[in-house]
């Protein structure tokens, strides 16, 4: 696309939502009230694996204000985004503690809560599957007896009936067996970490009403409004067009609001009260353990090199703890497999990635979609391999970096247009973390300062027909409204899309009115706001819409100015003659059609439309993984410097560095926000976050007092963010996706720095002082 001087793209334009948000005036989903609205409350399972013998509701019905009580018999069918394996309300069986068993609908919130506490559920306990290793054993209790019968919603899911394997994804590239034998040095390492949570500050909330004509009106905080329509169509047999979804701005999502869980429950609740408006908002405790969480992950990685340290062979076995249902964990199983090597060129790759059922809360997408986890395993192994080879860990990475001409694990060809420049990223990150000054230094205070680094990559595994559309309507004053179904969840997408339109139309960002809310009835279809794909997909759509509008403006203007369209240019609120810019007409004269002095009018209003669909993506071959999974890879390097006190194993994160090649950066400040926030999220996850389960597999820390997140003052003392901008040929103005990338390498970089500091191998998360102390003690013994 054109390379001229840009006025909006590349500029740190202020976010268009900041002022409203600072004023506390933005209305999120749960902020709406309506007289007569009913409130729903869930009754949830207290057993991890059990048959439901009875659900007694008589006492609950006696609570004043109760209007309906719904149990699993109301809808005894399975739903799910990839494999339909989950009844929205438990039916016959429960599979995790926190699973919805019944819904109470009452006049007020407190009445619904009171009634929920009076429902008596009788269970017949079944043996529990406690972890993925146990789940994998042939003798393990089977959690889904009907696994072979479930409907596949998308193709790339391979459940194994009679086991707890919800899906198995295979990658076979080259000849791993032979290559392994030819390696001069090999390494095999295992890694394990527990499930955890998104902790978006806004808990999930949905409101549904069914109007007398059969229209189902949904208000939700979701990343996937069109998927809600699809799910309601598939499972409730409703016309897609009768389901209308409204999404205000979303209070953080991080992948957790990408799947459809709450809305079907709110629909069943509304249906039970004759279609009246019902609101279902989750408490924090429910949001953490009833709604889907983040996967757990066990990995074994084997790498082999030749005498020069060049990687020849890699074998990767992932056991992904999906919890009770496969949801997006089945997709993560695939995504982790297809990028299993990290950004390294390895000619012989063998990967088995398993999506495993356990009796934990079920997992869904989380920012990074399996990549922070796989990157942790790969990058820890690289550091250890470098040690074994007596090589600088950066040099080992440098000589094995994936480059144009190589192929990915699924044998997709890497070109200079579809990948960022990893080597440039390494060089700059080295400088930012002052690598040459030393990896490990003992300070005068006796504390150890150490550094660690991680490369990372990711592609966006969207649907192969993922797409977006956009509509631009012009106002009488010549300014522009932008409507599209990209969802603002804090990432600044609406600002960035506005900038693309402003740039193309050569207008100011303030003259582009971007509709912040999404309404599926008036906005064109967009796949979903996930997978770091919105700047790319919706960005291309708004770019095309602006081009389309320019064509219309020129057409009307060519009549007004009596000249050829190709001699005209649009900019500065005018359409003008290229050789004589003073000769032109203002856009406001054209926006609603041009009116001549005699009253005759032409052209009509300017309505720009645009769309974009992914090109040439394919599913993966079942036996080898062969396929083209995503449009491009963004690559980057992250590095961390820590200071640790070996007396009590507490540590401070002194510095966190990101260098990312995200293609052209549309807005350097929103992009920096994403990287800093991503680093924080990845470091918080790695440092302290995990679900703690008791022996019944109940989450013991299901509130924000006990579930730790790094708080103010615990963040790195210094963040540095740099972008290498190798333009992506396909992206709007050369942009690639960046939203998830700040998270991906942070856990590995932290673990590498702490492993360096303590001179032990840290293969688990989270990296709490107690774990560090234990590992150091073991080494001493």
């Amino acid at each position: 696309m054109e390379q001229t001087e840009r006025t909006s793209v590349g500029q740190p334009e202020q976010r268009i939502d900041a002022v409203e948000k600072a004023a506390g005036k933005v209305k999120f989903t749960d902020d709406y009230q309506a007289p007569g609205m009913l409130h729903a409350k869930l009754v949830t399972s207290t057993e991890a694996h059990a048959y439901l013998q009875s659900v007694e509701t008589a006492a609950a019905w006696k609570v004043p204000g109760v209007r309906a009580i719904i149990t699993g018999e109301t809808f005894p069918f399975h739903i799910g985004p990839i494999l339909a394996d989950r009844p929205p309300l438990a039916y016959e069986k429960v599979r995790y503690i926190g699973e919805p068993v019944a819904i109470i609908v009452a006049d007020s919130d407190y009445q619904a809560k009171q009634a929920a506490s009076k429902v008596v559920v009788t269970y017949k306990k079944l043996p529990i599957v406690h972890n993925v290793q146990q789940a994998f054993e042939a003798s393990a209790p089977v959690i889904h007896n009907d696994l072979g019968e479930y409907t596949k919603i998308i193709g790339n899911v391979y459940p194994v009936a009679g086991t707890n394997i919800a899906s198995r994804i295979k990658i076979r590239k080259g000849d791993f067996g032979t290559a392994w034998k030819n390696c001069t040095e090999t390494i095999s390492e295992t890694y394990s970490f527990n499930l955890s949570d998104h902790v978006a500050l806004e808990t999930r909330s949905a409101r549904v009403e069914i109007n007398p004509a059969g229209k189902v009106i949904v208000h939700a905080c979701t990343q996937s409004p069109f998927t809600i329509k699809k799910v309601f169509n598939q499972f409730f047999n409703l016309d897609v067009g009768s389901v209308i979804v409204h999404i205000p701005m979303v209070g953080g999502a991080f992948g957790g609001k990408g799947t459809v869980q709450l809305e079907p429950l709110a629909y069943l609740a509304s249906k039970a009260v004759g279609g009246r408006l019902v609101k279902l908002t989750l408490s924090r405790e429910e949001d953490m353990t009833t709604a889907p969480c983040r996967i757990g992950f066990d990995a074994t990685i084997k790498l082999g090199v030749d005498h020069n340290g060049k990687l020849l062979a890699g074998q990767y076995t992932f056991l992904i703890d999906s919890g009770a249902y496969s949801d997006q964990a089945a997709g993560i199983t695939r995504a982790a497999a297809l990028d299993c090597t990290g950004p390294y060129h390895i000619p012989n790759v063998w990967c088995d990635s398993y999506c495993m059922y356990t009796n934990h809360p079920f997992a869904t997408s989380f920012r990074g979609y399996g990549h922070p986890e796989l990157t942790f395993a790969v990058e820890r192994t690289m550091d250890k391999l470098a040690k074994n080879l007596n090589m600088c860990p950066i040099e080992l990475r440098e000589i094995n970096t994936i480059l144009p001409g190589h192929t990915s694990p699924t044998q997709a060809v890497i070109t200079k247009n579809n990948i960022g420049d990893a080597q440039k990223c390494i060089a700059l990150a080295k400088e930012r973390i002052a690598w040459e000054e030393g990896e490990r230094l003992v300070g005068e205070n006796g504390k150890v300062r150490a550094k660690g680094l991680s490369l990372f990559w990711k592609t966006s595994t969207t649907a192969t027909n993922a797409q977006a559309g956009a509509i631009l309507t012009f106002e009488a004053d010549g300014k522009v409204n932008l409507n599209c179904a990209a969802i603002e969840l804090g990432q600044g997408t609406k600002t960035v899309l506005g900038q693309i339109v402003a740039e193309k139309l050569k207008m100011k960002l303030e003259d582009i009115h971007v509709t912040m809310e999404v309404n599926t009835q008036s906005d064109p279809h967009q796949w979903r706001t996930v997978a770091s794909s919105t700047t790319f997909l919706a960005g291309r759509a708004v770019y095309a819409a602006a081009e389309n509008a320019i064509g219309q403006l020129k057409k009307t203007a060519s009549t007004v100015l009596q000249c050829a369209e190709e001699d005209l240019e649009v900019g500065g609120g005018r359409v003008y003659l290229k050789p004589d810019p003073t000769f032109g007409v203002e856009i406001k004269e054209l926006a609603l059609g041009y009116k001549f002095p005699n009253g005759h009018s032409i052209g009509g209003q300017i309505v720009g439309v645009g769309k974009h669909i992914q090109r040439h993506l394919t599913p993966m071959d079942k036996n080898t993984g062969f396929g083209k999974p995503g449009p491009w890879w963004s690559v980057g390097v992250q590095a961390v410097e820590v200071e640790i006190d070996e007396r009590d194993f507490t540590y401070k994160i002194l510095k966190a560095v990101t260098v990312l090649d995200g293609g052209t950066i549309i807005n350097p400040m929103t992009a920096t926000q994403q990287m800093r926030g991503g680093m924080y999220m990845g470091l918080s996850y790695a440092a302290i976050e995990k679900f703690v389960f008791d022996h019944n597999e109940e989450v013991e820390n299901n509130d924000l007092r006990q579930y730790g997140t790094l708080r103010y003052g615990e963040q790195p003392e210094q963040y540095t963010v740099d972008f290498i901008e190798t333009p992506a040929a396909d992206g709007p103005y050369g942009a690639r996706g960046i939203g998830e990338y700040g998270v991906i390498g942070a856990p590995a970089a932290l673990a590498n720095s702490l492993s360096n500091a303590l001179q032990v191998e840290l293969n688990e998360l989270p990296l709490v002082p107690e774990y560090l102390w234990k590992m150091k003690k073991e080494r001493r013994q």
């Binding site: 600072a22 004023a23 506390g24 209305k27 969840l489 400040m669 924000l704 997140t709 708080r711 003052g713």
Partner: protein, 159 residues
């Protein structure tokens, strides 16, 4: 102020953002649902209802308080300030100018708390700032921009 034990409700006058508002209060009601559902003051967010995240922070007599833990009936005769009562305050501007806002859900609580911080400690050092702001959770920013916002207001007010 007395309220019959258990089921009773009463009309109570609350002083919010300088205005008296009559609200209906049950004995079990905390301030948060009263603000949100009866007065439409939804800037204070319900994110944990346990005093853990600070998203519901309001000022009661100029001290930051969790609206989710304050019994509504106990706030009668107190002066309550919500984010809506701080319009055009320097702290709001500082959050905008320092890019301290992403999804915006924690923002009102953070701004109210930070506003109280600079009012109560115009010369706050890093330790005091940390002690005050540890009560609030932000999942988007990584806190760096929030630190810059608070410091920018402290700097201006100390000059």
């Amino acid at each position: 102020m007395k309220l019959s034990n258990g089921k009773g409700k009463m009309v109570a006058p609350l002083l919010i953002n300088g205005e008296i508002h009559d609200v209906i209060v049950r004995s079990a009601d905390t301030l948060l649902p009263i603000l949100r559902e009866q007065l439409g003051l939804t800037g204070a967010k319900q994110a944990c209802q346990n005093g853990d995240c600070g998203a519901c922070t309001v000022l009661i007599n100029n001290q930051p308080s969790h609206a989710c833990l304050s019994l509504a009936i106990e706030t009668v005769n107190q002066s309550i300030t919500t984010i809506e009562g701080l319009s055009n305050s320097p702290m709001q501007e500082a959050f905008v100018n320092n890019w301290a806002i992403q999804c915006g859900y924690c923002t009102p609580g953070f701004i109210v708390n930070s506003h109280a911080l600079v009012t109560n400690h115009p010369n706050a050092d890093d330790n005091i700032i940390e002690e005050w702001l540890q009560s609030n959770i932000c999942r988007c920013t990584g806190y760096e921009e929030i630190k810059m916002a608070v410091k920018s207001v402290l700097k201006t007010s100390s000059e």
